[in-house]
């Protein structure tokens, strides 16, 4: 076995025939791609025929865990969903907390594959003793919360809501209150007539070095709790802590990205939420940060529900000119219950508001008018009236109604809560992102704008180095299947104590940006070794930071290879016209110079001028796409077809 803990089992469920097979993932794949994003991308590449329609039965839907899941490593009780995206036509991956990942692992599986399509609504029950496809007629049509309540309590759950059933392109999958939101993974699950997957078991993760792991875990938890971000700010304010900083640094999407700031930003800030409405903190299973919020929902007589993350505050707040915090709580709850990605939903409504304001669409939607937002969310999930168009997202809306220049998406995925005109590295990251307009596969804006450093946000110089460093780190984390918020602790506490207007601060910022070439080639000077150290104790052999960084690089390029095979090209590595041509603020350049930033980025990645990984790069990564060591004909049949 490649890992002491990882048995390498994949559960392969054909929903069309009812055949269920337990397969063994080869050690070579577990060594190279490890789990989560990386392994999922490789399995998808190998086993999905080219040009499959994403919402057809032929698409494959993977639920991936990783070696840290269930091990007791903090911030790793997660899973990643990988499939072909109905939004972009490229790779989809969406990570999620909740209990499903750990429970799937305890049932004895590192990965689950759903293929085909059930004739009628079903749910899948997985334990370490049996696997069964069960009738879900009485669950179909229910919200995600009621669905989970009706399923057995002890099981980990992954469910869709009415949005997924109705194939809203940006549907999500929920586990508890946590959301695999992006890329349309819920629509793919709905297209297979699968309402829910539940898992439970008693299998334990075995560690190669339990004492070393325990000792390191203790040290790691102490470091985190003492960190000003993970130990203080995130627990105090949650991700909503970003609102004020985003507004000050000109990256808060405001009225469909027409501005990057608003004087009323404080009305939807994490500080105001904490002062007025926070009931208690919440978090994923075993989390040591607990950045989740519980707030009282007015429409449920103040019942405590999950509060909004920053993204929801930005996309349903300032992006719509909506500074009514309680309205955003309602929108957040409704989207979760219906199974919608709040980022794409808010972005799409903002686009429709601008279309309406410009006379290109007849609707009642308008900026600074919140009273019909909740009805619109319901219409989207149930595909009623204009909701049927909105369910397709901004790319397809702009193809029907016009307005491509202000349709805020990349590759078909709506942009999240950061306007890149105030953080050019973030712009490059969006443009070349494998899943499209995305912020958690790098989060370069943390280094440029909102974090403790402020690496000149409006220069292209050396930004490709920052972006590659951030992307590879995020891809490595995504393949180990850990919380991305761990990466925000990469900068040591001393950085937070610097006077941001002093000489030393200026020097650190200058040196870090100037050190670009060292940042994107391991071993980088500032990156801590948490991820590699946990892996070493689990595997029982040295896993270095270089291994970690190479894993991230390999994962990223594997996803890129999938996208290229499915027809995406370098022309898709771009930003909406508004972000390229319209200045966001007085004194700033017109937009992000993306065409200037792409060539050095491609070169640094080891890609050719068309954005394709070269043979030399693939050799370095050990990727041979012609080799198919994972034979899907092999395996132990658990349930025969029919």
């Amino acid at each position: 076995m490649a890992y002491g803990d990882m048995n390498g089992r994949l559960l392969d469920v054909d929903l069309s025939t009812g055949r269920i097979v337990r397969r063994q993932i080869p050690d070579e794949y577990l060594e190279k791609y490890v789990g989560g994003r990386g392994l999922g991308a490789r399995l998808l590449y190998d086993n999905l025929p080219e040009n499959v329609e994403p919402l057809s039965p032929d698409n494959l839907l993977f639920f991936m865990t990783g070696p840290l899941v269930g091990s007791g490593a903090p911030l790793s009780t997660r899973f990643v969903v990988v499939t072909k995206s109905p939004m972009t036509g490229g790779i989809a991956d969406a990570a999620c907390g909740g209990t499903f990942g750990v429970k799937l692992k305890q049932a004895g599986y590192d990965a689950l594959l759903l293929r085909g399509k059930s004739e009628k609504p079903v749910y899948l029950e997985i334990t370490d003793e049996a696997v069964a496809i069960k009738d879900a007629s009485d669950l179909w049509g229910l919200g995600t919360y009621e669905t989970q309540e009706k399923l057995p309590k002890a099981f980990g759950k992954a469910v869709i809501g009415p949005a997924g059933e109705n194939l809203v392109l940006y549907s999500a999958i929920l586990s508890g209150e946590r959301v695999a939101g992006r890329s349309g993974v819920g629509a793919v699950m709905g297209s297979k007539n699968v309402k829910a997957i539940i898992a439970n078991g008693k299998q334990k993760v075995e560690l190669a070095n339990p004492q070393g792991f325990k000792d390191y875990r203790k040290k790691y938890v102490e470091q985190f709790k003492a960190h000003p971000m993970q130990g203080d700010l995130m627990p105090k304010l949650g991700t909503a802590n970003i609102v004020m900083a985003a507004s000050a640094t000109n990256i808060l999407p405001t009225r469909n990205f027409s501005k990057g700031t608003d004087p009323k930003a404080y009305e939807i800030s994490g500080e105001k939420l904490a002062e007025e409405d926070l009931i208690k903190n919440d978090g994923c299973m075993g989390c040591i940060i607990r950045c989740g919020r519980q707030v009282g929902l007015p429409s449920k007589n103040g019942e405590a529900v999950k509060g909004p993350e920053y993204e929801t505050l930005a996309l349903f707040g300032s992006n719509l000119g909506n500074f009514n915090l309680k309205n955003i709580y309602e929108a957040n709850y409704l989207c979760d219950d219906l199974g919608l990605d709040t980022i794409s939903a808010g972005n799409t409504i903002g686009f429709a508001m601008e279309l309406t304001a410009k006379g290109m669409l007849k609707s009642e939607l308008a900026f600074d008018k919140a009273d019909n937002i909740l009805d619109t969310i319901n219409d989207i999930a149930h595909r009623r009236g204009l909701g049927d168009d909105l369910a397709q997202g901004v790319k397809r809306m702009s193809e029907k109604y016009g307005g491509k220049e202000f349709a805020m998406h990349v590759k078909g995925l709506e942009l999240p809560g950061y306007d890149p005109r105030g953080a050019w590295g973030q712009g490059l990251e969006y443009a070349v992102g494998n899943r499209g307009g995305d912020h958690v596969q790098g989060a370069t804006m943390f280094l440029e704008a909102i974090g403790p450093l402020k690496l000149n946000p409006v220069t292209a110089k050396n930004k490709h180095h920052l972006v590659v460093m951030q992307q590879n780190t995020a891809a490595g984390i995504g393949s180990l299947v850990m919380c991305i918020f761990t990466s925000y602790a990469i900068l040591p506490p001393v950085v937070y104590r610097l006077n941001p207007n002093g000489f030393m601060f200026k020097l650190v910022n200058f040196l870090m940006l100037a050190a670009g070439p060292f940042l994107s080639a391991p071993p980088p000077p500032l990156v801590v070794l948490w991820y590699a150290n946990f892996m070493t104790h689990i595997k029982g052999k040295k896993f270095t930071f270089k291994d970690f960084f190479l894993l991230g690089d390999r994962t990223f390029d594997m996803e890129r290879l999938f996208n290229l095979r499915e027809g995406l090209t370098k022309a898709d590595d771009t930003l909406p016209e508004r972000l390229l041509k319209e200045p966001i603020s007085k004194g700033l350049p017109d937009g992000v110079p993306i065409e200037q930033m792409k060539p050095p980025y491609y070169k640094l990645r080891g890609w050719d001028t068309e954005g394709r990984p070269t043979a030399k790069k693939l050799k370095k990564l050990g990727i041979d796409v012609e080799a198919h060591p994972f034979d899907l004909d092999q395996g132990e049949v658990i349930v025969e077809a029919g």
């Binding site: 802590n241 004020m244 640094t249 000109n250 920053y310 909102i450 402020k454 918020f485 941001p500």
Partner: protein, 82 residues
Amino acid sequence: MAKLMPHYSLAKAIGCFEVDIAAKNVAELLDEGRKRFGEVFDREMKLAAIMVNGRNILYLKGFKTKLASDDEVMTVIPSAGG
């Protein structure tokens, strides 16, 4: 007059989220802030970066960055998440 828009804890401490201040440059604006709001202003500004129209003064002319009448000066403390 430039508009000072402080970060949340400073705004709460001084009792407003927007305040107009007549100042030729950032240094003058900070001096005026100290005069008006006292010690709390200095304490809150210790770890706050200063943005003029969304641009960090680090990449402008620092405290000598000139201010026009419609300029927005925002202060910001580190954040993360998303």
